[in-house]
Each structure stands twice: as C-alpha cells, then as structure tokens.
Amino acid sequence: MGSLTAAPVWYLMRGSGVVTLLLLTAVVMLGVATTSRWRPGRLPRFVTLGLHRSISLLAVVFLAVHIVAALADPYAQVRVLQVVLPLPLGPYPLWLGLGALSLDFLVAVIVTSLLRHRLGRRTWKSVHWLAYASWPLAFAHGLGMGSDARTAWFLALASASLAAVVLAAAWRLLGSRREHDKYLGAPLESGGTA
C-alpha cells in the first residue's frame, strides 16, 4: 500500500459497508419480530413489518454506495464481475467472493419480496429463507476484508450484530414449534366483535 492516509473513496466504501451490515442486522431482527407477532409497546403491529421493509430498502441504498465505492477504489482492485460472482482474482478473492454470494442471495430475497403477490406465498417463502444465509456471508465478508477489521470499534459493532442475529435466529427456530397449526394471539385490549 502506498500512501499513509487512505483515499476518501476507501472511507466511503468501508463506512457504507459497516452501515449496511448494521442495517441488515436490524432487518433480520425485525423480520423475526414480525413472525413472532412482537408488538413494540402500544404501537400497531404493522410498524414492525413496515420497518422491516423500509430498512431493508435503505440497506440496499447503502449497499449500492458500498459497491460503487469499491469499484472506484483503485487499491481494492475489484472487477465488475466480481460483484456478483466469486472469482479467483485480485488480492482478496475469498472475502470478496463471500460478499458476492451474500449480494446474490440478498437480491433474490428482495426481488421475490417485491413480486410476492405474483409469485405466491410458497415460492416467496422458500427464497426468503436465503436471508439466513446472506447475513453470515456478509458478516464474514466484512471481517475478512480490510485492515480496520482489528480495530476495537469495529469488533464491538461486529460482536453486537452477531449476538443480535444469533438470538433472533434462535428465537425464530424455537418459536416455530407451536401447539396448533394456527397461531393464537394474546387477547386484544379492545375486544372482538359483539
């Protein structure tokens, strides 16, 4: 590496990558919260699902910035094709490849979610499970790439995110075994019909 101070585009790439990972962590937690019918206090339930959708789209925006910055950074040496395909090129073929796979899965999840009503629930649901594959790949990509992966602040954020996703996934798996085929929610405060 040449200069002592890194190029601004490197900071942009690194920063947007971290933000994407944090947002995707929030997305996974909100997804599990939706399935478990978790209600944030007195807020209506659609807030959970609404946030899940909005934040995932926000994550896509930051991810796009991350990818463009990576392509623009001369030191990262990322070929365009490597964005979507793991290829044995450049200085970080493994970690970059994991990022590419993570992106592929995420794109599949988002596209099928946008086309949910046309694809039907079963197709949409099976592809949606790829989200649980996409996040760990993104996490590994973030840890493996770049020299600041050993800094305290990054490790703190990374650990917290990992803990959150592991807890959310555990909650999801444990909660999916129910007594009935159907879900019986808590009785409502404002009662049913007359």
């Binding site: 019918r37 209506p44 339930r45 609404g50 009503h117 629930r121 019986l184 808590a186 009662g191 049913g192």
Partner: protein, 67 residues
C-alpha cells in the same frame, strides 16, 4: 363493478395487520382472526385496502371484483 375484500382463512394466521390498517372494514374476533365486511370498497378506502393487501405477511387478503 364492485370491489370486495376477501380473506383466505387457511392462509390467514391471525397477524392482525389488516385490522389495524383498515379498521373500517376489518375487525378481529376474540382469537385475533379477521372478520371482513363483505360490503363494497368505497373509493376513499382503496389506498388503505391496497396497503392492507400488500402488508399481509401471509398474502391472505385480496381484493376481488364481484359483479
């Protein structure tokens, strides 16, 4: 041409988002499952209805055209 809300009771799993988004036409029974009014969708309620249909996690809510 009249648009009416319809819920698929097999797909429905009692999330209850629809009743929150469209309380004018959807109420919940004591177990959290929607009771959908069969009356025609008034034009001013169409946007809320579309949102309720989009947000249903089980794709159980639809708007059908009954003639």
């Amino acid at each position: 041409m009249a648009n009416v809300l319809r819920v698929d009771p097999i797909a429905c799993d009692g999330y209850g988002q629809c009743a929150e988004l469209l309380p004018e036409l959807i109420d919940l029974d004591e177990w959290g499952y929607p009771i959908v009014s069969g009356t025609s969708l008034r034009p001013e309620l169409e946007p809320a209805a579309r949102r309720a249909v989009t947000m249903c996690p089980r794709l159980a809510l639809t708007v059908v055209d009954v003639r």
